[in-house]
């Protein structure tokens, strides 16, 4: 049942590094993270890796396995042949801290730039009423486990450090869409125009809907179809006819 697999793991830090070769035991049913842990417990005790839940729920263990951005804890070894070399490298869009651990602070800084939910005036806690079908759209986006794989893969920032200050990335554009579609968000009443800020501050225009983000999302969120495109459409609609937008917003609130 068990066999020796050949792994190549990137070892190094901000100053540089290299792929190192390891032969390591693999047992039935294991995932890549199990194998990384076995390396730690045997030949490479100081191999740095982030993980937490080992159940695909926390989004800590993102890395690139044979060049594909994935959660290590949800990548079964059975998807590789026994003879195949498995290469594990850190996410490319973020600066390396050490080995498989990257500096993802860009994402936390960006999260802080998206204005928070604005509670509706005149509704006390406990008085919120929303229909299931109206919360479902935003709920889909709230499945996000912040693994940042979509951020990692998006070509706008993957190899373009210079775009980071002007482009929030799919995860956070989706966050804006989520708030914009929240049935009770009162941003507009406060004079905050989420769609305009998506376009003007967070770089929605850079997105050319390649859908790479959607493809890598471990939560299978339809980031492009359900968040980014509708957000773009709304921005466009409004440009032509602000009243259409205002009307739809009001209607949504009433039903």
């Amino acid at each position: 049942m068990s066999y020796k697999a050949h792994f190549r793991v990137w070892r190094g830090n901000a100053a540089g590094g290299e792929l190192r070769d390891y032969d390591v035991e693999v047992n039935e049913g294991e995932v890549v993270l199990d194998v990384i842990h076995r390396l730690q417990a045997t030949t490479a005790p100081d191999l740095a890796v982030r993980w937490n839940c080992k159940a695909g729920k926390c989004g800590s263990c993102s890395a690139e396995v044979n060049g594909r951005p994935r959660l290590m804890c949800m990548t079964r070894m059975s998807v590789f042949t026994e003879a195949e070399t498995v290469t594990v490298t850190p996410m490319r869009a973020f600066p390396v801290v050490r080995d498989l651990v990257t500096d993802v602070s860009f994402n936390y800084a960006t999260a802080r730039d998206v204005p928070a939910f604005v509670p509706p005036a005149g509704l006390a806690a406990g008085e919120y009423r929303m229909r299931q079908q109206d919360v479902e759209r935003s709920q889909e986006f709230r499945k996000c486990i912040e693994c940042f794989l979509c951020q990692n893969v998006c070509h706008v920032i993957r190899d373009h450090e210079e775009n980071k200050p002007v482009f929030a990335g799919p995860r956070f554009l989706m966050r804006i869409a989520e708030l914009d579609m929240h049935p009770l968000d009162a941003a507009a009443e406060q004079g905050l125009d989420r769609q305009r800020t998506a376009q003007e501050t967070h770089g929605l225009g850079y997105c050319n809907i390649t859908k790479c983000c959607t493809e890598v999302c471990p939560e299978h969120i339809k980031i492009t179809d359900n968040a980014l495109i509708p957000l773009k459409e709304r921005v466009v609609d409004r440009r032509y006819d602000p009243l259409v937008w205002l009307g739809s917003k009001i209607r949504r609130r009433r039903d």
Partner: protein, 633 residues
């Protein structure tokens, strides 16, 4: 002099799970400059894994629900060992804490009339768990995280600095609570990324570090659960209460080995899933204990009727409290009626349409498909008990969450003890985090504010000692030193085999011997490399905590010669009324006598319940738990 980065705050919260974040939000809202320290990235604490829901008697689905009923269920679930005042506060305040989350942007699943939907769960009389599919913990943590961000946005506007009054130090581990005489003065720790030391001076420290599951081999818990807060409290002079009570969740995955222990949410049973043995028998009907007989169905027909018409049917026995179900599964497997991989069958595939299953239990569907090649819409799951939650924790004052005997120290969430008695009901943890997280933050803030200029200092000597302790693994005497991973694996095996779900005196004595040997070996643990993000080093330091906590569990479990909730003795199988009123407290014998201080065990009487609360129960029921003297008018 040790090099350590120094910071000064009013309140420092150790832990960024539900309890820690709620505490920090409260302390900051009270105007205190607040720091939050956590081991993993912000938003990834263990709370993120909670699935089923958060218990609060909002009465949205069944209007018969109210806080008194919730209180009653909680006490029953804990077999009346709970601190009644904590259970009362929890039941009263949980609805407000849930509703508040909506004002911060949370989106729970809805009822037809647009309110928060609530689902059934083991031990809860009415549908009570607010939920978002089966990812409720994610919603909770994300909402609190986004609330923290919202407060930081306010500060950015007001002070030009988002971290002016609330700052998160992520990927930092606290290894010591520092004290100035009797009072708390701050914390010492290291940044995981750089390995550099830091000191945060603060007169009030809130521990919100979660649980201890990583001392067991089969567990649903993540690497963070090394009992740090429990150990930090002990080392700071506080007591741990009820440590013998460890909850084994009845349904963890059993196959393949690498995922053994990962949780299968109780919602599977709440939504209609049934347990069967290899003979295809719904065996839970054979395991309804006397104290619960009145409330549970006796035939399959009656049980099945309950899902649609709960007023005229009794509940299915699959929904008994967790300790009962876990023991039953254990017994079936022992009797040779288990599934191929040593569990039992949990089946929803014959109970709901495939579509319904995918809609109601999306994560479970995903989890089994991805990790075990099992399609739960077409075949049963194999499940078995897994170490899940520790009821024991820091001995706190119920109203203020202040650790008894250590001014300035607070504890909330899983790291605090008392609330759940001998067994926690599902859903009662998330609500506990919010209710007592808020209280801890509030009272820590008040305490810090009231001190005025009379603030404790951080003695340099303690910082030196803490730094030396943290560096020791790099200078293991007989190099190469013990492999910390090896010591950890043996510790897990010891606790799993000898202080697990079913306990015996001899085995626990053996466990204590092994623990003491392991402690010596842990003292020699050595690591290679340098301090920058070095997991071997981190584990070597965590061993101290796991060993201390494991010893508390083993000692208390050996002392309690009865079976109750999350403590089952093969050699004392009965619940003894004389033990109900007894709390076991663990303290460090002589804190100064490091590095090998002994654990001292003392008994304390559980305070008597207020009479209006006692009156919520029928005397007949109380008679099963309370001694005659206790009930004498």
């Amino acid at each position: 002099m040790t090099e350590a980065e120094h910071h000064t705050y009013d309140v420092v919260v150790v832990g960024a799970g539900g309890a820690g974040l709620r505490a920090a939000i409260e302390a900051r809202s009270q105007g205190m400059r607040t720091a939050v320290i956590c081991k993993s990235l912000f938003g990834k604490a263990h709370t993120v894994m909670a699935e089923g829901g958060i218990a609060a008697s909002m009465g949205n689905v069944n209007a018969g629900d109210n806080w008194q009923v919730h209180f009653r269920d909680t006490m029953r679930g804990g077999k009346f060992l709970n601190h009644w005042r904590m259970a009362e506060l929890h039941a009263r305040e949980a609805p407000d804490r849930v509703w508040e989350l909506e004002t911060w942007g949370a989106l729970f699943d809805r009822t037809k009339d647009g309110r928060i939907s609530q689902r059934n769960f083991g031990g809860h009389e009415y549908p009570r768990l607010a939920h978002v599919g089966d990812r409720t913990g994610l919603e909770l943590i994300r909402t609190l995280q986004q609330r923290v961000v919202a407060l930081q946005q306010q500060d950015a506007e007001e002070y030009g600095d988002p971290e002016a009054r609330l700052r998160v130090f992520q990927e930092c581990t606290v290894t010591r609570v520092l004290k100035d005489g009797q009072r708390v003065g701050g914390v010492f720790g290291y940044a995981r990324e750089s390995g550099r030391f830091f000191v945060v001076s603060a007169p009030a420290v809130v521990l919100a570090t979660g649980g201890i599951g990583k001392s067991y081999r089969v567990t649903s818990n993540s690497w963070e659960y090394t009992g740090d807060g429990h150990a930090l409290a002990l080392l700071a002079g506080a007591a741990l209460v009820n440590m013998e009570f460890v909850q084994f969740h009845p349904t963890g995955m059993v196959w393949p080995p690498s995922v053994k222990g990962i949780l299968v949410t109780e919602s599977v049973r709440g939504d209609g899933g049934v347990l069967r043995n290899s003979e295809n028998r719904r065996f839970m009907f054979d395991y309804v204990p006397d104290v619960f007989r009145k409330h549970y169905a006796q035939t399959e027909q009656e049980a099945d009727g309950w899902y649609t018409d709960p007023d005229r049917h009794r509940r299915p026995p699959e929904l008994l409290p967790r300790d009962e179900v876990a023991r039953a599964i254990n017994a079936e497997v022992k009797a040779g009626r288990g599934s191929p991989h040593g569990g039992v069958f949990l089946d929803v595939s014959t109970r709901m349409s495939a579509q319904e299953i995918v809609r109601r239990l999306p994560s479970m569907h995903h989890q089994f498909k991805e990790l075990a090649d099992v399609d739960i819409t077409a075949e049963p799951m194999e499940v078995g008990p897994t170490c899940h939650y520790v009821m024991g924790g820091v001995d706190v004052d119920p109203d203020t969450a202040a650790a008894v005997g250590v001014p300035g120290l607070y504890a909330a969430g899983e790291v605090a003890g008392g609330m759940h008695g001998s067994n926690r009901l599902g859903g009662n943890s998330l609500s506990d985090l919010l209710v007592f997280g808020r209280r801890a933050g509030l009272h820590a803030a008040r305490y810090a504010a009231a001190l005025g200029p009379d603030r404790p200092a951080v003695p340099a000597q303690q910082v030196e000692t803490a730094a030396a302790e943290a560096l020791r693994p790099f200078s293991a005497e007989d190099s190469p030193g013990e492999n910390p991973y090896g010591v950890h694996q043996e510790l897990q095996q010891t606790m799993n085999d000898l202080v697990g779900i079913i306990r015996r005196e001899e085995e626990m004595r053996q466990a204590l011997e092994r623990l003491s040997a392991l402690r010596c070996r842990a003292g020699r643990a050595g690591v290679e490399g340098h301090r920058q993000f070095n997991p071997g080093w981190h584990l070597a330091l965590d061993l101290r905590n796991m060993l201390l906590v494991s010893e508390c569990v083993a000692r208390a479990a050996l002392e309690r010669t009865e079976s109750r909730g999350g403590h089952t003795r093969d050699d004392h199988p009965e619940m003894a009324r004389s033990w109900r009123g007894v709390n076991l407290l663990c303290t460090l014998d002589d804190v100064a006598q490091e590095p090998e201080p002994g654990i001292r065990l003392t008994r304390r009487q559980n305070p008597p319940m207020r009479s209006d609360l006692l009156a919520l129960f029928e005397r007949e029921e109380l008679g099963k738990y309370y001694t005659d003297e206790e009930l004498a008018p």
